[in-house]
């Protein structure tokens, strides 16, 4: 029993690269065999490839056809069709606990016997399996922390942007670009299973729509909401707003067609350069969502809300007093005389004090409208063509629309 056990150098060399990642392992195998090497995932998407001369680097696979199995090994012969060539190779499945994690291929030259490569291929596949399994485990671990990270990001709990960049790298998210928060929500949400499923569908639709426009989804589900963080590409700063609008419309339309009886709404915050300010964008998106629902705006942008932004959080008593002082007389006149002059005034404000547009919208003759407006001017004791009066009336009507009164 004095016989020493020989471990081939090749095995030793391959083992030494296992800790250095998939590309290094692929390169090592390629150098040792002087043959092109390719590693794919279970769906034949390329994970790593290497070629001795560097000329045969496979970028996309069009089709893979299994040929015969090599005797007493799990390795098989394959025909791989790429954009510019057809290659014959030997492949071995990369498995871990009966789960196929991917495939390892080598491409011997035409005159070389493929059988001799099978044992080495099997050994290399087991090394790759360790790598892929570790990656899979890491991804599962990352998923656990994804929601916690996004929660902290959206509630401003991470105060250092470097920390956010670092965390973002874990999921391949680049927070160096300016970001915008979008919130999609379902009104009348209950904690019942069907509603939760609806939110899952909403998340799925959003992620698919994002992938369609080649954006890596940064999304989070939170009760009746799905929050999306959208990056603004430097070259698209002018188009960014239009892109967001199209994207939001697309998602809302898809949801409407899927669940016609439910109401979905959205809100869009401002774009912030630094990811530490993203929580502001999120809060703004929620304000826009709520005000959009009240004011009946389909795709509300926080930046577009105007004076409502100040009014919605102003002291209620003060708003009431203001409304009373501005339009109180008219409301009283309407009540005592059973007329709807307030409605006429609201119509005028909605149509930006344009007589023609208002008379058309309210189905009134121009002279009737003129008469009513004169009456309103008498009751309120002011001139409707004065800009300051117009401003005051518009603000008072906005207060009413915000359901503050």
């Amino acid at each position: 029993m004095n016989k020493s056990i020989i471990i081939p150098d090749m095995v030793q060399e391959l083992l030494s690269t296992t800790t250095e990642g998939l590309p290094k392992l692929t390169n090592k195998l390629c150098t040792l065999l002087s043959l092109p090497v390719l590693i794919t995932d279970p769906h034949y998407q390329i994970l790593a490839s290497s070629s001795p001369s560097g000329d045969l680097v496979i970028k996309t696979i069009l089709a893979i056809q299994q040929l015969e199995q090599i005797e007493s090994t799990p390795a098989l012969k394959y025909q791989i069709t790429t954009i510019d060539s057809e290659l014959c190779g030997v492949g071995s499945p990369i498995t871990h606990e009966n789960n196929t994690l991917g495939y390892l291929f080598i491409f011997p030259k035409d005159n070389q016997p493929t059988e001799s490569y099978a044992p080495l291929l099997e050994f290399a596949a087991s090394l790759v399996a360790i790598q892929l399994y570790r990656k899979l485990e890491m991804r599962q671990e990352k998923m656990k922390f994804k929601e916690a990270f996004l929660f902290d990001l959206l509630y401003g709990n991470i105060k250092q942007k470097e920390e956010i960049y670092e965390y973002g790298r874990v999921w391949d998210w680049d927070f160096h670009q300016p970001q915008t928060s979008l919130v999609f929500a379902m009104t009348d949400f209950n904690h019942v299973l069907t509603d939760k499923q609806m939110i899952n569908t909403l998340l799925y639709i959003i992620e698919r729509a994002l992938l369609d426009i080649s954006i890596k989804p940064v999304t989070m589900k939170r009760q009746n909401q799905v929050i999306v963080i959208l990056p603004m590409k430097a070259e698209q700063s002018k188009k960014h707003r239009a892109d967001i609008e199209t994207f939001s419309k697309n998602v809302i339309n898809q949801l409407k067609s899927l669940y016609p009886e439910e109401i979905f709404s959205c809100g869009i915050g401002q774009t912030y350069e630094s990811p530490v300010d993203l929580f502001r964008s999120y809060q703004e998106a929620k304000v826009a969502l709520d005000l959009g629902e009240i004011l009946g705006i389909a795709i509300p942008f926080f930046t577009d809300l105007g004076v409502e932004r100040i009014l919605y959080k102003h002291d209620l008593q003060e708003l009431r007093e203001y409304y009373e002082a501005t339009l109180g007389e008219l409301v009283l006149y309407d009540e005592t005389n059973n007329v709807q002059l307030m409605e006429t005034l609201e119509g005028l404000v909605t149509n930006q004090f344009d007589m023609t547009a208002t008379s058309q919208a309210l189905f009134l003759h121009r002279n009737t409208l003129r008469y009513r407006l004169k009456k309103i001017e008498e009751i309120l004791d002011l001139k409707l063509d004065d800009l300051n009066n117009k401003l005051n009336i518009t603000a008072a009507i906005k207060i009413k629309q915000l359901r503050k009164i």
């Binding site: 929601e147 916690a148 929660f151 902290d152 509630y155 401003g156 709990n157 105060k159 904690h191 939170r222 009760q223 530490v276 300010d277 929580f279 502001r280 809060q283 703004e284 929620k286 304000v287 709520d290 005000l291 009240i294 919605y312 959080k313 209620l316 359901r403 503050k404």
Partner: protein, 179 residues
């Protein structure tokens, strides 16, 4: 998973004894003029005990230029006094007047739902002190009660902020002897 801790308040049970207010002061040793929890009588002839509602959409949070507010994963909104400059923007933003300005320290402070107590498995001091059991703390992510309402008359507008508080309104009294 994430929680959204909040309060539940039964307006019928509150007798306005202010035990919650005193317990809060005692636990957090706040100065005399700083009231994290306030008991008030509403025009509807019942009492309201209100503190910071640890809103789902905290407005204090959005307006703070120093990013001094944080929301813990259990839903508690905290203020980092080291970051606070005492600009009082949060006071105007909060509909419930939860952030309180301390003129001595020139900083804001507010209810933190006794998180050191909660972390130790104890209820917040106000909840523990409530003599009639009107005030309770609940996880709103799991809470569901058909009798509970989101607001009461006399409580500030809940739109936008979505406060983490639920109410049990006053029920009409039954009269057994007077017909």
């Amino acid at each position: 998973m994430f929680k959204q801790l909040g309060y539940s308040f039964n307006a019928d049970d509150c007798i306005g004894c202010k035990a919650c207010e005193i317990a809060c002061k005692n636990e957090n040793q706040t100065p005399a003029h700083v009231r994290w929890r306030k008991v008030t009588k509403t025009s509807g002839d019942f009492f309201l005990s209100v503190s910071c509602n640890h809103c789902d959409n905290p407005e204090c949070f959005r307006v703070c230029p120093e990013r001094a507010f944080t929301k813990r994963q259990d839903g508690i909104v905290e203020i980092d006094e080291n970051r606070c400059t005492g600009c009082q923007l949060c006071v105007t933003a909060c509909p419930y007047s939860a952030p309180q300005f301390d003129p001595e320290t020139q900083k804001m402070s507010k209810c933190q739902m006794c998180y050191p107590r909660q972390d130790a498995g104890l209820p917040p001091a106000c909840v523990e002190a409530c003599t009639t059991g009107a005030l309770n703390h609940v996880d709103l992510n799991k809470f569901s009660d058909l009798e509970a309402t989101r607001t009461l008359p006399g409580f500030p507008n809940i739109k936008i902020t979505s406060p983490s508080i639920v109410f049990y309104p006053v029920k009409p009294r039954k009269r057994y002897f007077i017909k």
